[in-house]
Point group: C2
Chain length 223, copies 2
């Protein structure tokens, strides 16, 4: 037990949540790292990245949570192998890679862990505009969820959801990550490959565009 | 595929959610039954009850979802075997049987399933006053969560959370269940036993008191 204020940080293995966790660290929180294995195509690679990020950030606690039921639900190209990950460019609307209410489920589980540990903040690396267009990444949703959480937990549980990246552009995320020393080499964004990133799925495109606009070379390997 | 309006129903195996699902059925919904195995002490018994209830209600789809991570989180006498289930009577405040944000997690997963199937209602058997005093059973919380869900899912997803029992007393639940033909013999409430209910945990006390006030004999076996 420490006397520091505590924050739970959802860390996916990608750039955004890694920067979010670094910002939490810089704000003086003692970090509780949370990662979800939900049957996504790049599950193993993301888990390795999570462990490296949590280690570099010096998180005091670490939860790697298996959520096998996402495969049971399916309905997304990330969790259902019979669907194809789109590679022709980011389009308007909610893409087939959307996993129904994924962040709602992640936030709810992170809330339970926060309540257990008496954490006062929950960090999530959602990005609203410069993103794949998932509804559970919206500022308005997260703010509403914060209210719900505080109504649905013990009266002494006061949890603030922090989303420091929500209105950032990808290139700003790259620039800020480099400025704060976030280990971008230990992050993974590709939706479909685990060894060399494909470079053509929506997530790779958004990442590569961010690096391009920031004028920096991405340190991870591409096909 | 049917043309009926669809509802997802969280069915725990207890009386309350069984009545909630029966009410959904009577309102003309095509039912999608959802049950959670979360490492609770009476997991096996509740699962058997769930299957019987879902069968009697003629649910068109059925999800039995394993949530092993609740044991990883613990912090409740229902999921942590090193803690003791209280048997001396229902007291004020949030009891040690409270599982942090359990209903938040259940509702979030049920939302994902509802979104997949295009369901328009989610039924949950929460009871606010005549209950164990869990914060995630409050009317105000559930109403807030409904708003959050509709902000965090696709624009075409419109989900109403229905909680027909929230302001009912246990004896009213017993009376209404009997009136509607809910199979109370196939429900289980005890927190700690799977063969014969203990009769002295909070959940047994609330159930037995409900039957007593309703002037009816409980059909399940007690120690």
């Amino acid at each position: 037990m420490t006397n520091f204020k505590k924050a739970v940080c959802i860390i996916s293995g990608g750039m955004d949540s890694a920067l979010g966790a670094k910002i939490a660290k810089n704000e003086g929180y003692d970090l509780i790292a949370i990662h979800f294995n939900y049957g996504q195509r790049t599950e193993k690679k993301e888990l390795v990245c999570f462990h490296n990020i949590a280690k570099e950030l010096g998180c005091s606690e670490s939860y790697s949570i298996d959520l096998d039921f996402f495969k049971q639900i399916g309905a997304s190209a990330l969790t259902d192998r019979s669907l194809t990950v789109p590679t022709t460019g980011v389009e308007a609307g909610v893409p087939i890679t959307y996993v129904p209410f994924r962040n709602g489920i992640f936030i709810s589980i992170a809330t339970a862990i926060a309540e257990k540990h008496g954490a006062e903040a929950l960090f999530i690396g959602v990005v609203e505009e410069d993103s794949s267009g998932y509804p559970d990444c919206r500022d308005e949703y997260i703010k509403s969820m914060e209210k719900s959480i505080n109504l649905g937990t013990k009266d002494e549980t006061k949890l603030e959801i922090k989303m420091p990246l929500v209105h950032m552009k990808k290139h700003e995320i790259v620039t800020k990550s480099l400025a704060l020393g976030v280990p971008l080499k230990d992050t993974w964004s590709c939706y479909q490959n685990e060894k060399k990133a494909c470079g053509i799925c929506d997530s790779c495109r958004l990442r590569l565009n961010g690096f391009k606009l920031a004028g920096v070379i991405d340190p991870i390997k591409y096909v």
